[in-house]
């Protein structure tokens, strides 16, 4: 029974991974791509690891899979944050139909 629930979780994770990488192709600028794909890929890979935990039960591999979920959820948003800030500071523009950009206004006011 646990194996079947694990397979269901792995299937959900694969679907979210696929949609995240499709967003990497379809969106028009860097921030939207990062925005859609980091969410989908983080939860998709966490779901695959949780399926591995349900498949293996409480053993060495299962506990390692849970720890890997904790590392992933703590580190993936930080890397997205670092990439968005450094891309904005290195001069990548937003999409031309964007509504507002308060960050560059404040940077111009400060400097």
């Amino acid at each position: 029974m646990n194996e079947i629930i694990g397979y269901v979780f792995i299937g959900i994770g694969l679907a979210f991974d696929f949609f995240g990488c499709l967003g990497l192709l379809r969106f028009p600028d860097l921030y939207n791509r990062l925005h859609s794909s980091i969410k989908c890929v983080t939860l998709g890979t966490s779901s695959i690891l949780f399926g591995l935990f349900l498949y293996k039960g409480i053993s060495a591999t299962g506990i390692k899979a849970l720890l890997c979920i904790v590392f992933l959820v703590l580190t993936a948003p930080v890397s997205a944050h670092v990439l968005a800030r450094s891309a904005h500071k290195s001069g990548v523009k937003l999409w031309e139909k964007s509504v507002c950009d308060k960050y560059s206004e404040d940077e111009n006011a400060l400097s």
Binding site: Y7, I10, G11, G13, L14, D17, F18, G20, C21, L22, L24, L25, L30, R33, L34, S37, I38, V41, T42, G44, T45, I48, L49, L52, Y55, A60, T61, K64, A65, L67, C68, F71, L72, T75, A76, V78, S79, A80, V82, L83, R85, S86, A87, K89, S90, V92
Partner: protein, 119 residues
């Protein structure tokens, strides 16, 4: 025009999924189930999308974003490979890859921002 392109893309995705699911895949290892064999190929398609973005990205920051996504996908590869082969050390590779990919992305961000490495 955009809807036509979207429709063509959807048809191409359906055809590629059908090819992956009904093609008699070679059994490289002694796989325990067909589901994992096909799941592996869905992950390979996702990784090829990411590789396409690395190839075609207009700026260096786009390539860094795609590299980050590829690094998270590889953890999924390691987790799935651990089930049919029965080897427990694949998840160790996954944990080590998670931490190392995080540190390399931090270094890339600092480089793109134009700061020195000891700031």
């Amino acid at each position: 025009m955009r809807r036509l392109r979207w429709f063509l893309g959807l048809i191409a995705l359906g055809v590629s999924f059908a090819l992956v699911f009904f093609y008699p895949l070679p059994s490289l290892l002694s796989w325990q189930s067909d589901f994992l064999k096909h799941a592996f190929f869905i992950l390979i398609i996702s990784a090829s999308f990411s590789l396409w973005r690395i190839l075609r990205g207009p700026t260096a920051a786009d390539r860094a974003v795609a590299l980050d996504i590829l690094g998270i996908l590889i953890i999924g590869f390691c987790a799935i490979l651990g089930i049919p082969t029965g080897r427990d050390w694949y998840i160790d590779i996954g944990i080590a890859w998670a931490l190392q990919s995080f540190i390399s992305i931090l270094t890339l961000g600092k480089y793109l921002e134009g700061r020195r490495f000891d700031e």
